[in-house]
């Protein structure tokens, strides 16, 4: 598994497409779970079942927020997915939303904390960890 993270609009998806021979259609986009036509095919946001059809998962932070809003525990769910081995050969792209001021809104606070924890978990299990800044990637762990 490869973890690619960094700020919003920094070219993370483009970085993956350029460097990992993944095409746009092979990326499962959690940010458009509600509108994407492939949602049903991918198991309605079930990332474990989605794993078969895609080489990369994008906007994991959007999935984390969705889990929180559905009253589920994204960290526990992510642990399950990683334990299953289904993401062994995937690229996982996540926006790092953990740097700003602590949000007043409790849900946003949970989102921020859970994203930070999930990033740590992913980084621990990943074979490569890449941080993207202005379209440039740095392997912070190989």
């Amino acid at each position: 598994m490869i973890l690619i993270f960094g700020g919003a609009f920094q070219g993370k998806t483009e970085y993956v497409i350029t460097n990992y021979t993944v095409s746009d259609g092979q990326i499962y986009d959690c940010a458009c779970l509600k509108t994407c036509e492939n949602d049903a095919a991918a198991g309605g946001g079930d990332l474990l079942r989605a794993a078969d059809a895609f080489l990369a998962v994008n906007h994991l932070e959007a999935w984390i927020l969705r889990m929180i809003r559905e009253g589920q525990d994204p960290y526990a769910r992510l642990q399950e997915i990683l334990r299953s081995g289904a993401w062994r050969d995937k690229a996982v792209i996540c926006t790092d939303i953990t740097h700003g001021v602590v949000p007043i809104d409790a849900e946003m606070r949970r989102w921020r904390d859970q994203t930070g924890r999930c990033l740590q978990l992913l980084a621990e299990r990943a074979d490569e960890v890449v941080r993207v800044f202005c379209g440039l990637g740095e392997h912070i762990r190989s």
Partner: protein
């Protein structure tokens, strides 16, 4: 040689950019220009302009005020000089929200403006802001602004010879000139 410098608020990126610009102008023996893009709207803005002026005092900058189109500054400047553009963030905000209206093509306009400026000059230091890592769901306009600034940042990072990220006054170099 062009530089692109980004970082958080009060991270020291302006000071770093000023040093790079001044050293380059001294080394090359060319004029040193500061592109002032701030369009002061209230007393707080005016105070910020005064603070920035003070911080540049004695550095040898000639100030060119162009809050909407920095290419116009080249009419009155020596293009072989060193230019400091601080910041792309402020310029984009000016162009996008000019006169209280929203300009939907601001991102594209500023992107083209920046690339043209890089083409027409030899030594420019572009300063931008890292505003991309907070936990918030923004309205459509703010999101458009962030998307545009991100896109301009990627394009400038590709175009510039050196890319630096400043945090807590410390510089991390993301890209160096190819030898």
């Amino acid at each position: 040689m062009h530089y692109f410098i980004s970082g958080g608020a009060k991270s020291g990126k302006s000071m770093r950019a000023q040093q790079i610009a001044r050293d380059a102008a001294e080394r090359l023996g060319v004029p040193l220009y500061y592109l002032a893009v701030m369009d002061p709207k209230d007393e707080e803005d005016l105070q910020r302009v005064r603070d920035h002026r003070k911080a540049r005092e004695g550095w040898g900058f000639r100030t060119l005020e162009e809050p909407y189109d920095v290419l116009r500054a080249l009419d009155a400047a020596d293009a072989s000089g060193v230019f400091l553009l601080d910041s792309v963030t402020a310029l984009l905000a000016n162009v996008m929200f000019r006169g209280g209206k929203i300009n939907p093509s601001a991102g594209e306009e500023v992107l083209m403006q920046m690339l043209s400026f890089a083409d027409r000059t030899e030594n420019t230091v572009f300063v931008s802001d890292d505003i991309f890592s907070d936990a918030a769901e923004y309205d459509e306009f703010t999101e458009d602004y962030r998307r545009a600034l991100g896109r301009i940042g990627i394009a400038l990072a590709r175009r510039c010879d050196q890319v630096e990220e400043v945090s807590a006054g410390i510089t991390k170099v993301w890209k160096r000139p190819e030898r």
